[in-house]
Structures are given as structure tokens and as C-alpha cells.
């Protein structure tokens, strides 16, 4: 199959990451979306857990966004003053 990129297959990359011990293999599995053949299947989250994570992340994102906006709004006149 022709593709624009001439890079190694995703499986080969996952195998190469297996050698890296400074991060848990679970992290590399999450990052690549590909588990090792010998890796145990993961216990799936329940819908309630997914919704709880969603709400937690929503609060964190809203907090970060609002906090940053309060500071960055002060910069709004800068382009006007420059130009």
C-alpha cells in the first residue's frame, strides 16, 4: 500500500518502545493505542467513571481558561497601542 510517509509500522514502534524502562509499559500502550502481545487486558471503566472524569476535566479546563483570560484580557489594548 502506497502512503506519503515512509516510516516504520506502528507495531515496530511499539516494540521499540518496549525497551524503554523509564516509563511504565502502560503509558506506552496508552500513547500508541497498541498493547504488547503479552500484556494483560485492562479492566474497562464504567460509564459512571467516564462521566466523573469528564466533569473533573471540565472543571479543571474551565478554571484554567477563566484564570488565563483574566490576565490575557489586560493585553487586549496592546495591539491597538502598537499599531
Amino acid at each position: 500500500m502506497k502512503t506519503r510517509h515512509n516510516k516504520p509500522d506502528a507495531i515496530a514502534i511499539r516494540q521499540a518502545l518496549k525497551e524503554l524502562r523509564f516509563a511504565p509499559q502502560r503509558f506506552w500502550t496508552w500513547l500508541t493505542g497498541i498493547a504488547l502481545p503479552e500484556e494483560m487486558g485492562r479492566q474497562p471503566w464504567t460509564p459512571a467513571q467516564h462521566h466523573a472524569l469528564q466533569m473533573g476535566v471540565a472543571m479543571l479546563a474551565a478554571g484554567l481558561g477563566m484564570w488565563s483570560a483574566q490576565t490575557l484580557y489586560l493585553l487586549a489594548p496592546v495591539p491597538v497601542l502598537v499599531f
Binding site: 514502534i13 484554567l64 481558561g65 488565563s68
Partner: protein, 316 residues
């Protein structure tokens, strides 16, 4: 100097919140609402619907429960990017310019230019706002006004309204548009027909989805920094736009995750090996650990054999 540090932190916080908002949008629409419309969320039907609507409202999804289910059922029935008039998700991509017969370069230009097109952003954002606040069942509209109106009233009382608009609503709309677009253009890589090198093109577009940083052969300063940066970039992408990864969608369209009213084994962020049903396919099970492309190729062949697209519906 202190002001410079404060601005730097603010920009970093805005970027961080943008990444989180992108992930929220994709999870809210393409995972939580999507699963709920398939009846794959909570066992209780009412709770399942409520949770789906809630996920859609919080992330300003472009469709409520009923509309999402209507469009999505057609998508499942006619899930090929080559079938205009049957699959509305495909129709949207076609209108943007993702059409058979165009050159690889033209498709890539369309892909990138769409994302920086302010008119496209305005249309997408307005469609999402309209869907939540002015269309759909009355109860859902009331809920949307209550959630966002309540947030607005609270922010106004606390003097945070500009922060809410500029730091929450605007990023949620803009970054959400992008995240959904990236997901939509790369999710169905096995579903295009082989005409006009469709498979190769779609796989090409999905390359970033499959690829992960390759460890360097020699760990010098430059190669180590490059590797760390690429891991960070992939981690951001993985969180922000790829929560429901290939294997899940692969199995989903095959009907392998339709366990009624329960969390399927491949819920949300499934990795390839987490799908037992996918492993059970004899050819794919062997290919999946040797070549992902070969496994996807097998799937292409199987899909075309099982559900050939009618000639009348094809483009090109």
C-alpha cells in the same frame, strides 16, 4: 519582569485548557453521547439518555440525543465516505472537498486550510450553539439554557463573565471544532473504497493517529530532546483528539461492541489488544502484532466483500 512571568503562565494555562477542552469535546460528543445513543451507557434507559444529553450540553455538541441517533444510524447503515445523500457525516466531508479523484496534495490543502478558515469556524460554532439553545426537544433546550445560563449568571455575579466567554465558551467552540474535525477525518480509515487509491489516502491522513515517537538509536542531547518533545506532542494529541482510537471504532462498526446496556470491553479509549473480538478474527489476530497496515488491509477486503457499495451510490 513579574508581569512577563504572569503573562507566560496565563498563555500556558490557556494552551493547557485548550488541550483539555479539545479532549472534552471529543469525549462528550464522539464517546459519551455516541455510546448513549447506541444504548451502551447506563443500564437504565432514562439514565442513559440523561447522561448522553448532559455530555452533549456540557460540551456544546452539534446534535442532541435524538438528532445524533438519527444521523448516526444512517452513518452506520451507509458508512462509506463514498456514499453521498445516505451518510450525512460523509456528506459534510464531501462538501468540504474530501472527494474521490482529487490529488493527494489537494486533499492535504483542503485539510489544513479548512482549519484556519474563519467562516468554517463561525458556521460550525453557530450550528453547535443553535443545536443546543434553539433546536431539538423543549426539555433539552431548557436544560441547555439552565446549564449555560446558570454558569453565566454565576460568572456575572462573581465578575468572571469575560473569563467565562473568553476562557471557556470561545475555546470550547474553536478547539472543539478542530478536535471533532481531526477525529472525523481520520476515524474511518477502513471504510473508504479502494477506488482512486482511497485506502492509501485515508491511511495517509490517519498516519498521525497510528504513529508514535520512535526511540532514537543514539541518545544524544539533540535526539533525546526531540524524543521528549515528540512524546509530549503525541500525548497531547492522544488526549485531545484520539480518545476513541482505531480498534474501538474498528470493532464498533463491526457490531462487536453492542453489548446491551453495559460497558463494553472496548469502552472509549481502547487499545488494539483490548478488543477480544478483534483478536478473535483469525487473520487479523496474527497480523495485528506484525503489521497494522496489513491488519487494516485485511479488514478493507472483508468489508468490501461483505458490503459492496452499490454502483449508483459511488462517486468519482
Amino acid at each position: 519582569m513579574n508581569q512577563l512571568i504572569e503573562v507566560t503562565f496565563a498563555v500556558a494555562a490557556l494552551a493547557g485548557s485548550g488541550v483539555l477542552f479539545a479532549g472534552l469535546k471529543v469525549r462528550g460528543s464522539s464517546v459519551l453521547l455516541h455510546h448513549a445513543t447506541h444504548g451502551l451507557g447506563f443500564a437504565n434507559k432514562r439514565l442513559n439518555r440523561l447522561a448522553g444529553e448532559w455530555a452533549g450540553i456540557v460540551t456544546l455538541s452539534g446534535a442532541g440525543f435524538d438528532e445524533y441517533r438519527r444521523v448516526h444510524n444512517r452513518h452506520h447503515a451507509h458508512a462509506s465516505f463514498a456514499q453521498r445523500g445516505l451518510d450525512e457525516e460523509a456528506e459534510g466531508l464531501f462538501e468540504l472537498g474530501f472527494q474521490p479523484g482529487r490529488s493527494q496534495g489537494a486533499l492535504w490543502r483542503t485539510f489544513w486550510l479548512t482549519q484556519v478558515n474563519p467562516v468554517w469556524h463561525a458556521q460550525q460554532s453557530w450550528a453547535r450553539l443553535r443545536s443546543n439553545f434553539f433546536e431539538g426537544p423543549l426539555l433539552r433546550r431548557v436544560a441547555a439554557w439552565a446549564v449555560w445560563g446558570g454558569a453565566g449568571a454565576t460568572a456575572t455575579a462573581a465578575g468572571w463573565l469575560p473569563g467565562l466567554l473568553g476562557g471557556v465558551v470561545a475555546p470550547l467552540l474553536l478547539v472543539g471544532n478542530l478536535a471533532s474535525y481531526w477525529e472525523l477525518t481520520s476515524r474511518h480509515i477502513w471504510m473508504v473504497t479502494s477506488e482512486h487509491e482511497g485506502h492509501a489516502r485515508q491511511l495517509d491522513l490517519s498516519h498521525g493517529r497510528l504513529m508514535a515517537p520512535m526511540p532514537p538509536v543514539r541518545w544524544g542531547l539533540k535526539s533525546t530532546c526531540n524524543f521528549i518533545a515528540s512524546v509530549a506532542a503525541k500525548a497531547v494529541a492522544r488526549w485531545a483528539v484520539l480518545p476513541a482510537d482505531l480498534a474501538f471504532h474498528f470493532a464498533h462498526h463491526a457490531g462487536w461492541d453492542r453489548r446491551p446496556y453495559g460497558a463494553p470491553p472496548a469502552w472509549a479509549d481502547a487499545a488494539l489488544a483490548y478488543s477480544d473480538r478483534l483478536r478473535a478474527h483469525p487473520e487479523i489476530a496474527t497480523q495485528i502484532y506484525t503489521s497494522l497496515r496489513a491488519a487494516i488491509g485485511t479488514w478493507f477486503a472483508r468489508l468490501e466483500k461483505e458490503a459492496p457499495v452499490s454502483a449508483g451510490a459511488r462517486l468519482g
